[in-house]
Subunit: 196 residues, 2 copies
Amino acid sequence: MKAEGTRGAILDAALELGSLQGLEELSLGSLASAVNMSKSGLFAHFGSKHELQLATIAQAWEVFEAEVVLDPPQSAQHGLHVLLERWLSFYQRKVFPGGCFFVISAVEFAGRADAVAKALASAVDRQTTALEAAVRKANASGELPIRKDPRQTAFALFSTLTNADALFQVREDPVVFDHARATIVDLLGPPGLADG
Amino acid sequence: MKAEGTRGAILDAALELGSLQGLEELSLGSLASAVNMSKSGLFAHFGSKHELQLATIAQAWEVFEAEVVLDPPQSAQHGLHVLLERWLSFYQRKVFPGGCFFVISAVEFAGRADAVAKALASAVDRQTTALEAAVRKANASGELPIRKDPRQTAFALFSTLTNADALFQVREDPVVFDHARATIVDLLGPPGLADG
DNA sequence: AAATAGCACGACCGATCGTGCTATTTCGAG
DNA sequence: CTCGAAATAGCACGATCGGTCGTGCTATTT
């Protein structure tokens, strides 16, 4: 899912550095030296830091979507559990080395009115909406032993996922993913009762 | 829980600005003008930004501890639920206007080795430990309808609490606290079964 | 071969950062 | 009323910030 070309290389590096330090702390200078370019040469690709941030968010979403959300063709039967497992794996593999780009940055930019804040809030919304849709589908497909309220359950699942990521960043101990998986079972019941 | 004296006033402002923008982005200049002081006059109180950050973290913990953790003398019977409710209220009242100081900053500083990162990680540990202890006590007191694994449950509760805070920051919609309360019931069962 | 267009470059701008060093002010004890 | 210590302000520093400028290389087009 690496992007090609100079601009793509810049965005890949921006993704890495931005997730580690936050979108605002990511400076043009440090990014330029990370891709072995001059600051001005890099800058010309975007025109403003604002635009660079927006492009980075868009790239981050593409990576996340491809790795987590986009349909794995198999297993409509366990769609929700597959989604959650891919999500946890995404965090555990540190695809964004500094952790979940969206929630951290969205909180960092919360309260501002600019386009960057809006883009981040929208990314968070897309994440929770994806969870909500998966819960709905799981309700319909019989994947869940009992029906669950989609909004409410999406909130609980999103909490579990993002907190696993955050604590993994802080503690560097993958045991948080075991806790997350146990919490998911607590919240949803064991998978596959409907078609065992 | 306001701290007194000039230094206390500085720390109160540091708490507010730091929670809004993050500990690193909090600059001496903006902080100085927020308390109507010169940058150097403020600086003399701490000697380095490092020390200011550490003092701010300590102050933040004192505020949090007094508002949430320290024993409310009543209701040993519902200790865990009271703790969770105070915790949510702490977030909803925006005592730290930019949201939970500790998790956000701890993730921001994750990976570094300095004392600030260590202090933040320790604050997060104290939070999860407080939850764990409350779960243990609830197990013993019969507050919970069924016994719960303390570590595992502390993780799930901490997820719920911090995610409510984060989404509240992003969405400005207090409905997230309803979701959080429902999730708590999901995780723990209804309160007060043991002594109803 | 000449003209053009896309990239990337180094130099530089004003602003702000954290941090020293030195005055000045403030204030309580004698 | 004075004196000395503590608190605060003034000022300057080197570094870095986002951003602009003119310039040179290297293709492609004409």
